[in-house]
């Protein structure tokens, strides 16, 4: 079985569903036998779901467009 460190090395891609079937099988075998990694994976997945579903608040465009423009133009000039 892979170690926790090996599991964690693939963790970001696993959360994004971007691992090969072979790697997925190894990771799932590890999860079935390691409670700490299982809790980490389960709670991370739920965190992403909670954040994706909770944080969306529409504001009138005219309220913040000028500020966003300022920030984005600063971002652009900062790179030059």
């Amino acid at each position: 079985m892979i170690t926790c460190e090996e599991f964690f090395a693939e963790f970001a891609d696993y959360l994004e569903n971007q691992v090969s079937p072979e790697v997925r099988q190894e990771l799932e075998l590890h999860l079935a036998q390691c409670r700490a990694c299982h809790v980490l994976y389960d709670s991370s997945r739920k965190t992403i779901k909670i954040v994706s579903e909770s944080a969306s608040f529409e504001l009138p465009q005219k309220v913040f467009d000028p500020i966003i423009d300022r920030v984005m133009s600063k971002l652009r000039t900062d790179r030059h």
């Binding site: 970001a12 959360l15 991370s44 954040v51 909770s54 969306s56 529409e58 966003i68």
Partner: protein
């Protein structure tokens, strides 16, 4: 870049403050946000962010908190994140941009975005954990 919500606005505005108001007097008081450059070298990014609380989360977060409480928790959690992690989490998980698009918008490499995204998500996980575990008492008023 389509910017349509308050949360993203707050993320960008906070990032702007962090980077373009260096004259603000510093404070060592609790709750001070850690300011880090969006382009800084991530010396500690390989450090594993292990869960401090090894407890199973509720299947449904609303078993712990109301929908509005969860929303407030998420907002507060996002604002607690260092700016360089917050903006990546906001663009990926709130705005649902692809990792490649986030990298393009911020002028970062895809691996850098992936690393920051993971760290930001794990920090948010730590923030939410006390409220989401089975047996948690919910949000204190």
């Amino acid at each position: 870049l389509a910017v349509k919500n308050l949360a993203l606005f707050l993320a960008l505005a906070a990032w702007f403050e962090d980077h373009y108001d260096p004259g603000t007097p510093s404070s060592d008081g609790p709750g001070r946000r850690i300011t880090e450059s969006l382009d800084s070298v991530d010396a500690d990014e390989d450090r594993i962010c292990r869960p401090r609380l090894i407890a199973t989360w509720q299947e449904n977060p609303e078993q712990c908190c109301s929908r509005s409480e969860i929303r407030r928790l998420v907002e507060r959690g996002l604002l607690e994140l260092p700016a360089k992690y917050r903006i990546v989490v906001m663009l990926r998980d709130v705005e649902h941009l692809s990792t490649e698009d986030v990298a393009r918008q911020l002028g970062l490499s895809v691996p850098a975005v992936k690393t920051r995204l993971l760290r930001g998500r794990l920090m948010l996980r730590e923030w939410l954990a006390p409220y989401m575990t089975i047996g948690a008492k919910g949000v204190a008023s």
